[in-house]
């Protein structure tokens, strides 16, 4: 009798718990990410050149994969490394790669422009060398590259983001002029 009772209770429990395991389409969260246009115009060109080299994030095997004119090209297009400017599809892929790295945290950053959450992002911590990063310390807090990336994330004035990104690009090989805002 006891066994039957236990079995019945287990069955009821299973029936009650099962729906909790089912996917609830209404539970999907929207990921917010800072301004895509500013990223594409100013931040992506810098990240393509400083992070997206073929032997770094311009590699198919990297979780944060970056495409660009001088690095990896989009597999659904017919461009080659070093030829033709970065395409809209590549810019979108770069934006998704950066925003998709930590969706919840980047949503928090985008929801509170100017907040401190930006300093917790892996993107920023790795770039600053505060987190293990094979590429080492790519930028330091408040230098031009940092002001470019973090400024975009933080929702800084577009002109200051543009200026920081341009100054950071000027330190890299080759000349690349960003379009003024």
């Amino acid at each position: 009798m006891i066994r039957v009772t236990i079995a019945a209770l287990a069955l009821v429990g299973a029936v009650l718990v099962a729906p909790a395991c089912l996917d609830d389409p209404e539970a999907r969260q929207t990921v917010l990410c800072p301004n895509e246009a500013i990223f594409s115009a100013y931040v992506s060109p810098l990240m393509e050149r400083r992070c997206g080299m073929l032997d770094c994030h311009g590699n198919f095997q990297r979780p944060m994969r970056l495409y660009g004119e001088l690095g990896l090209r989009h597999p659904k297009e017919l461009n080659r490394t070093g030829e033709n400017a970065t395409t809209p599809a590549e810019l979108t892929a770069n934006y998704n790669a950066v925003c998709g790295l930590e969706p919840e945290l980047v949503t928090e950053v985008a929801s509170q422009p100017g907040g401190q959450a930006v300093n917790k992002l892996l993107l920023v911590r790795k770039g600053r060398g505060q987190e293990g990063h094979k590429g080492g310390n790519v930028f330091t807090a408040f230098d031009d590259a940092d002001l470019c990336v973090v400024g975009w994330l933080r929702g800084d004035n577009v002109k200051s983001v543009y200026q920081a990104c341009q100054r950071a690009l000027d330190k890299l090989p080759g000349r690349f002029d960003l379009p003024p805002p």
Binding site: R50, D55, R73, L78, N79, R80, T81, G136, L172, P173
Partner: protein
């Protein structure tokens, strides 16, 4: 008791062997080494394996001597046949992020290299000048130029619809490092057979395997 001691010793030995093997084996690098073509008929020399990633083997991992700080191959492309041929006698200057630089001269196979002992502390990212050409992108960490400057292979041609079968440029590579010997400034020429207009190809020549005879200078700090 003796059998227990022997069992313990055996287990320790097995653990030591296992840990040594796992520490000295990198499956990613090993797969790339295993995929390299067979050694040149003349065996290893500074002219061998042009266009292949030098530092896969010339490294702590594989232990080929000399260990290299950086190495690669410079080519020219025939304007008629589009085939590649090595460029001898051109300086390759590599600059690091700390302001240091090293010059190397390409040899008869187009190969150049800087020994690790001559530049043990190169600070990445690097930039490069070859003859009159400046690399537009940075080198993040790969010491083998051919890690990114890949030649065309059957596998790459099959996988990459954008691939240029002559230079190897495609989705994931800028292709061979190309220089026109005729355009190399005098101060960027070097070695016993400096690059010149006379060494520029105007007819079909093969590329991609084996080194021609002759000797080229290499190394040298700057």
């Amino acid at each position: 008791l003796t059998s227990k001691i022997w069992l313990g010793l055996s287990l320790c030995a097995a653990a030591a062997v296992t840990s040594w093997v796992s520490c000295s084996h990198d499956p990613v690098v090993q797969e790339q080494i295993d995929a390299l073509p067979a050694e040149d008929a003349n065996g290893p020399s500074e002219l061998h394996r042009p266009g292949q990633p030098c530092v896969l083997c010339h490294s702590d991992y594989e232990g080929a001597e000399p260990a290299l700080a950086v190495g690669g191959t410079v080519w020219q492309q025939s304007p008629i046949s589009f085939l590649l041929a090595p460029v001898e006698g051109v300086f390759v200057t590599v600059y690091d992020s700390a302001g240091a630089s090293q010059k190397a001269c390409t040899n008869a196979a187009g190969n150049f290299f800087v020994r690790l002992e001559d530049w043990p502390d190169a600070k990445f990212p690097l930039t490069v000048q070859v003859g009159n050409r400046f690399m537009r992108s940075l080198i993040g960490r790969d010491r083998s130029c051919a890690g990114c400057h890949k030649l065309a292979t059957k596998t790459r041609v099959e996988r990459d619809p954008a691939l240029d079968p002559s230079t190897g440029a495609g989705h994931d590579s800028a292709g061979a490092i190309l220089v026109d010997p005729a355009a190399v400034p005098a101060e960027e020429r070097c070695g016993p057979n400096p690059a010149s207009a006379a060494s520029s190809t105007t007819s079909a020549t093969g590329g991609g395997s084996g080194g021609a005879g002759g000797a080229g200078g290499t190394g040298g700090g700057a």
